[in-house]
Symmetry: C2
Subunit: 201 residues, 2 copies
């Protein structure tokens, strides 16, 4: 029995280019015959430790920010994705990421994550709001109160913290990042190359 | 008579992703039916004014640098371009850029620029060395001494300085950048989209 090729998808809910990646990766991977491991993580602690940054470079360098928003708008138009520039950027993604981390081994991680991205980048909702996250969890038939409570268990919180260390060990410095056979790819525009790498002999 | 679509190609000789862009843009633009305006500029003054940066982000954030060199290696392999990580990064590109600026209206600007990129990213030469640049100029049948002397005229130097102001006015923050019909695209990976934009009605 040969195992199917695998791609690990590292994403941060506040990350703008992670939005099209999250919306498209499952379809693109299915077409390529690659399995996707969804790996939510908090980019903030990674950026702080690696770069000393406490805010997004898209805020600290306004010209870069203006470009990114326009570029993202063009990408979403090309991919047929709804897009509205969110009123808050970057959002506080701690609770959403803890929930997604709890769901890593569950079937709902991908649809939950896509719904959080749509709430952020299509509907302009505050994704740090437990009510917003509860409504999304309900939509997938989950007991939101119980999930949110378990997401904030020490064990889940510590396990998510370890993901930032793991990201640093992979030399990940941004999101979305893709890892295939030890090779790192960064950015939605590198997703086709990452899938091709996963298929290499 | 309708005018042909045009793309302005802003490049910096020290910029790593400008290398594949410089090597491929004329062929890709020809295939698309787009004319290219080669526009060399100094990214240093732009980055300093806009970002407060005095060194490349690929040096100041080592994980980002390691990724970029590997990514560039993969791109060059895919594009069939020779690549050897240069011993000096970023190189001092003042003289090379002054020469290229002098040649903006001349037929030699594209082949000269490609040769400077190859000297930097394929052959590991010091492109701040007037002898290296002279040999390239000779190759294109130019009087190197005369060109280098004219490149350092006050008029040419001031005119090149004005290009950095023009870059800032276009909201350019990196290289390679492409401008088509007032729309900005950044990075070699956006060249196909930039060409498509140039062709829009």
């Amino acid at each position: 029995m040969t195992s199917r090729p695998v791609l690990t998808f590292w994403y941060e809910f506040a990350s703008t280019y992670s939005y099209p990646a999250a919306m498209r990766i499952d379809d693109m991977a299915r077409a390529a015959g690659v399995d996707v491991i969804w790996r939510p993580f908090l980019l903030g602690p990674v950026a702080l430790q690696q770069q000393g940054w406490t805010d997004s470079i898209f805020n600290t360098i306004p010209a870069k920010g203006r470009y990114m928003w326009r570029d993202l708008e063009r990408i979403c138009a090309a991919e047929g994705l709804a897009f509205n520039r969110p009123p808050i950027f970057p959002q506080n993604t701690l609770l959403a990421t803890r929930i997604a981390h709890l769901g890593e081994a569950e079937a709902w991680i991908a649809p939950f994550s896509r719904a959080v991205y749509e709430a952020n980048f299509a509907h302009g909702h505050d994704i740090s709001d437990p009510d917003v996250l509860s409504r999304i969890l309900h939509r997938f038939g989950l007991n939101a109160g119980e999930v949110i409570s378990r997401a904030q268990d020490r064990r889940n919180k510590d396990s998510l913290k370890a993901r930032s260390e793991e990201a640093l060990a992979h030399d990940i410095f941004g999101a979305p990042s893709f890892v295939a056979k030890g090779e790192l790819f960064w950015g939605f525009d590198r997703l086709p190359q990452a899938l091709a790498w996963a298929l290499k002999d």
